[in-house]
Subunit: 432 residues, 2 copies
């Protein structure tokens, strides 16, 4: 039985319609190595299609200067030689460090205390010498974590990179984490799955009571449901808000006090055609000028319409989310225009989604760990408390933060519950 707080399934994946075509308001991509998701998509009778990446170049807009870059893995940006050398040594050092971290146990690294005792920003300042090199890594933090480099433990950025293969996989389309999309939108995976499950919509859970024989789950509306085990499939910061009886142990409660969600407003603009493709651009840009720091071409497959996606992240999201929707839209379109040309200023339709304003999510893409948290609380992250287990993209060892991680964590957790369950009573799952 699945208790779902919202009146729809999908959580951090959500479907929308723009210019008559389905778009993703949340999680979007399947990537290289996301084997469980490809298998699930096929099993559910759905199809994938490649993210647009075929023609044109990616734009790098750092420190007010634009350069172009081939969008393929192994490509190097066209920067001045000093910035390029600085960036190259920074990427090499980060890569070496990330390869030394075991994503199953970042706290077990021989220098875990040192790596977890500093921010990613401290590492950037120490390692990168050029403004462009620093800007690149800061934008990287925003693009990957929807958080500022100042907010992140260096060990967390290394864990996340190791969990997702390597930095290049993480940020790439071609052979990378943004490789494919689901025809009709990623939310269709959850929708199809829900068809064969007992899902209760609008059933926000308020608390869980455990005893020797099972768990009683109470909803805000006052329903009581009984199960042998429960899986709390919420982002950690929301999981920490449920009432528990008996009260959770100190370490579990203090863990969920320390894993905040990122901050992102996702903005989508539809145009009569993907006009940027004719200008030798592939719709991808990385910029350190706000509000939009990262863009993608997320046009639907086989249609004439073109759709640009812009992420407003971290500090930019905090600044802009307090202003009116009109001002945000104007600022986003102004950046689209700057990057892709005058036609970008006049979309046929536009939509945005602020995930931190969503009561049942409270931030995307996912949780990040500030300094000290992995070493202090990492060992209890995936540990059940009695009959209560935890699952979701944040609990995955591999492909943390992606739909792939969520599915793998779900499978691992379900296997753990089944293995210990002698009873035939169904396990209750509370999903966001």
């Amino acid at each position: 039985m699945v208790l779902e707080a919202r009146d729809r399934v999908g959580g951090r994946t959500e479907g929308g319609v723009l210019a008559g075509h389905p778009v993703e308001l949340g999680g979007t991509w399947l990537g290289e190595g996301h084997t469980e998701m490809y298998r699930l998509v096929a099993e559910l009778g759905l199809e994938t299609f490649p993210t647009w990446n075929d023609a044109g170049t990616l734009l790098l807009d750092l420190g007010g200067r634009r350069s172009r870059m081939r969008p393929h893995k192994g490509a190097t940006p066209r920067l001045n030689p000093i910035a390029l050398a600085d960036l190259a040594q920074g990427l090499a050092r980060f890569g070496r460090l990330a390869r030394s971290v075991d994503p199953a146990a970042p706290w077990a690294h021989p220098r875990a205390a040192l790596l977890d005792g500093q921010t990613f920003e401290s590492w950037i300042r120490r390692t990168l010498r050029t403004p462009t090199g620093r800007a690149y890594f800061r934008v990287l933090a925003e693009a990957v974590h929807a958080a500022d480099a100042t907010d992140l433990s260096l060990l967390h950025t290394l864990f996340y990179t190791a969990s997702n293969g390597d930095l290049e996989t993480l940020i790439s389309v071609d052979r990378g984490a943004q490789k494919d999309r689901v025809v009709g939108g990623s939310v269709r995976v959850a929708e199809r799955l829900a068809e064969d499950l007992d899902v209760r919509l609008g059933a926000a859970v308020s608390g869980l009571v455990q005893d020797d024989h099972g768990v009683t789950v109470t909803t805000r509306a006052g329903a009581h449901l009984r199960a042998a085990h429960a899986v709390v499939a919420l982002p950690p910061t929301l999981a920490g808000r449920l009432h528990h009886s008996p009260a959770l142990p100190a370490w579990r409660d203090q863990l969920t006090q320390r894993v905040p969600a990122g901050t992102v407003v996702k903005c989508l603009a539809a145009y009569p055609t993907p006009f940027w493709r004719n200008r030798g651009l592939n719709g991808q840009a990385v910029s350190d000028t706000g509000p939009v720091t990262v863009t993608f071409d997320v046009s639907p497959p086989g249609a004439e319409v073109g759709v640009l996606l812009g992420f407003v992240e971290g500090g930019e999201a905090r600044r802009w989310q307090r202003l009116t929707a009109e001002r945000r839209r104007a600022a986003v379109l102004d950046r689209f225009r700057h990057l892709f040309g005058p036609q970008a200023a006049d979309p046929v339709s536009y939509v945005e989604k602020d995930w931190s304003a969503e009561e049942f999510t409270r931030g995307c893409y996912g949780a990040h760990f500030g300094p000290g948290t992995w070493t202090a609380y990492g060992p209890v992250l995936r540990e059940p408390v009695g009959r209560i287990h935890w699952a979701g993209a944040e609990y995955a060892v591999e492909w943390s933060g992606y739909m792939e991680g969520a599915v793998r964590s779900g499978r691992t957790t379900a296997e753990a519950v089944l293995a210990r369950s002698a009873s035939r009573a169904p396990a209750a799952v509370t999903a966001p």
Copy 2:
């Protein structure tokens, strides 16, 4: 009207009895400059007495080596000259930095981004050169914040120091923040205050609904109470768990995801006499060998019995809170014995309190801000949301983290509510 989740008032102050005498299981001290608390204590007909500090020396136990130090402000520890010089330059640099931070607006510091972008640990490694110097500052982080230096934003440690005068005031007994105690225990302040208030015990609040005319507060037991305004006087991490309708804005919710409470187990041992005084010791010690990092003489006034207090903090608390109470007690008494002599191994009674295990507190002494949080969310910390205000030790500009800060924040908030309230409806207050 005060809605109190517990079956007692006092929150993070709590009375206990040890060897027939009252002791404090939580907040204990009044210090130099805590004018509102001294005024309140007098107004309520209570009395203070000085913390024992008269005879003997403080013990410094760093890197396995013990040294003695006069316990008065301005005293220097007896360390080797190199460690002493290192410590002196570190203290001078920290002091200068702290004086440059305005505790009313740490985010407005001209170098706020730099100071908030690094951990206190990063600053320690860069600034201190000797193992003793580094150990001193790390123990300081634990003693002051019940958190490790790795967990804290440098800007937060500077804010907290500026809020509490200076570092010396913060850590001193004589003319410092640990100067006096309340006869009968600090909890008597809350108990006396409650006598004149409408306090509903056992009334844990689950949610708040705002409309144009007021706030409806719902308790877990299902009671609904109506007021013109509400003051949520919970530690931020607990305030973030209440349901709100309409949902809180993104920035308020994300703030409370980022201000975790510290980790501390407070341990008290009573002896027939304060025997350490006869050995030239004042019962105060600072040590980097766990589990006890800081001790005090908290003997009752005018009695023969002696009481030693030991704090188990940060990483030490996390390690030891997962073991049995018997093992913790043995380890704590072993450290008392090491520091104060063989008599310390056999107390006549012993009690401990793990504040992070308390459902209605979830960590002490208070909240700390990790890197990035003050600059990103500081400006909204003290900002009401509609008819809901926030109060408590964490919201104080001056004497943050102390009972004094809580009282000042309460007064400031009450004045703000009264100033905007045209209505005569009473304001509801939810207290921990």
